[in-house]
Assembly symmetry: C2
Homo-oligomer: 219 residues x 2
């Protein structure tokens, strides 16, 4: 997973990365019936400082009230709007293997307004079938399908060596962003945005932290 990117409309990438955490804390607060929440409470729930919460939110506006805090429901709605999950967002999946299967049937995406409109695979045995109501089509129809369904985000879950080709096809079809699960650095024309999910990298990072450091290999 890329560690850093340039700013987006002047909003640091790190700030955006923290928004879903605030969102989750707010959703919990709503569930527990809290009508208001302070920056300190949000900070505790997310493991950061109250200063950081206020600083982050101030990139988008002023949503709180001195001496009171933030109205829970209202701030949740605002963050949903900032993240763009108050409107439906259509996805297309390329690569219906095990991981693709799992993504298609993960209920959490739909709940947040993300909907797989169509999926693609090269395997003739899969083409024509559908999974969780999502039709699986031939790669040759990718351009047409993506346009027809007005897909915004392409999801790449193909093996490493097919990833760049899939990315090129998606870009050519006019998607606005790519969610990439293949362990490669995709070469894409700017200003395409990619969000990489590299499971093996994540696991290696964890292994480093867990292992008794045989290190001190300095020489």
């Amino acid at each position: 997973m890329t560690i850093d990117k340039p700013k987006l409309d002047g909003i640091p990438y790190r700030v955006i990365k923290r928004l879903p955490g605030y969102r989750a804390a707010l959703a919990d607060a709503v569930t527990s019936g809290a009508e208001r929440v302070s920056s300190q409470q949000l900070a505790t729930a997310c493991g950061c400082t109250a200063s950081q919460v206020r600083q982050d939110l101030s990139f988008f506006g002023s949503f709180g009230q001195q001496g009171y805090g933030y109205a829970t429901q209202e701030l949740l709605a605002i963050i949903d709007h900032i993240l763009g999950i108050d409107a439906e967002c259509r996805l297309a999946l390329v690569g219906v293997g095990q991981l693709g299967h799992a993504l298609l049937s993960y209920p959490g995406f739909m709940e947040k307004g993300f909907r797989f409109a169509v999926a693609f695979d090269s395997d003739p045995k899969l083409i024509g079938r559908s999974i969780g109501g999502v039709p699986i089509c031939a790669l040759s129809s990718l351009g047409d399908q993506i346009a027809a369904h007005r897909v915004e985000i392409g999801v790449i879950a193909v093996p490493k060596n097919a990833a760049q080709e899939a990315a090129d096809a998606l870009v050519g079809a006019g998607v606005k962003g790519i969610w990439n699960f293949a362990p490669v650095q995709l070469r894409l024309p700017l200003p395409m945005t990619v969000e990489n999910v590299n499971l093996l990298d994540s696991l290696m990072t964890l292994a480093f932290q867990v292992r008794p450091r045989a290190m001190a290999l300095r020489r």
Copy 2:
């Protein structure tokens, strides 16, 4: 995914997060037959600066040679050693749903020395079966199995509301780290390390970047 953590033995978390990228670039270089590689070449492949590559590597030692660069094979072996993937690392999976299935059958992990030794699920229909050679056991046997297989890392792929319980069981059984796919902030005793993979958070971040900013909700 947590954005930042405290240093690990004086190594910034950001540095560790970049190591897999360097590793991938080196593996490519080995494949292409290059005997040596410069910090500049690594930087280009990873999308960072040569300075950063050298600075990062210098946390661990001095592996290059002035006027020459780094011996490709050798540096790859060194990074593998730093990351701890030159020795087998045993995993245990909790939660054999769609995502769990996908993780069990992903070939990339095994290649890098990560092996699922055992999996657990609460569904009686799954218990006793095995997937990709990995036996699925009852949760009640978790403690014994983890000890028997000397599992180092527990992988949580259960629904949100079962995650904390799974984590507690894994910690109780003595795992050294947790790879968490459930969308919750786990409460764990220090110094347990957790690496979170939050797919929905990642997708929301991408949505933000892709959407025409309806923002300017400043008020």
